[in-house]
Assembly symmetry: C2
Homo-oligomer: 154 residues x 2
Amino acid sequence: MKVAVGSPGTWSGLLLRVGQCAFAGASIGVMLSAFGFSSYTAFCYLVASMALQILWSFGLLCLDLHALKFKRDLHNPLLVSLFVVGDWVTATLTLAAACSSAGVVVLFVRDVHFCKKYPQLSCGMYQISIAMAFITWLLVAKSSLVMFWILASG
Amino acid sequence: MKVAVGSPGTWSGLLLRVGQCAFAGASIGVMLSAFGFSSYTAFCYLVASMALQILWSFGLLCLDLHALKFKRDLHNPLLVSLFVVGDWVTATLTLAAACSSAGVVVLFVRDVHFCKKYPQLSCGMYQISIAMAFITWLLVAKSSLVMFWILASG
């Protein structure tokens, strides 16, 4: 199997995982510090989904570190299948969470003008948190495409 | 290249495309017949995204029919790459549209109780339309996974 950028057990793969954890963490942090987020299901789901993403990415980050330290090869078909399923599930959940929250924010800002009517709602914070969630999704999508490619071409 | 279920130029592939067109069309039909959908950006985006999905799936449906009629082989790396990109882009847009609309409907039903306050809003229709959009996404996801698999293992 050829080694692609971002494959498990490489520095680029490790960097992708660190990025996923960092952006997902930032997204949760910003959302938790925004006033009134807990009244909206979509924002709560975003926090839950980002937490799941952090758990998964952190697990693979540790595995990558272990593989780099002990020069282990993680290109084992069984392991890669597991990574593919996990990455696809978390990527889909992350995209779903980011999009549903984005739908709600667009509704608040453009359609019902809640943000103007209720200035105490932290619409700006919601938007920043959602932007972070989208960046997390891009990074997870990159990982999952690489994993799927390794599995299919292996 | 081995022939997978749902690959281009086969009966199963054709059936998948027909299903995509049918469910996307049904989703648009139900949404257009729901009162007041045009006041909400997310629902308009759902209609636009489903229309794009129909265009793409219908194009590939015609190509599949042509390949079946004249016994052409569509497993050409260049063609498959094009199908992969198109399928992934439309699948992502479809999921994004379905999730953002779902986020808005959950907000209406559970968080701000718009559906009870304004019974003239056709919340039931919105939900049916979004369910159809999710089924469309599942069918497109199946197509795109098969395409990507063919490309990667080819």
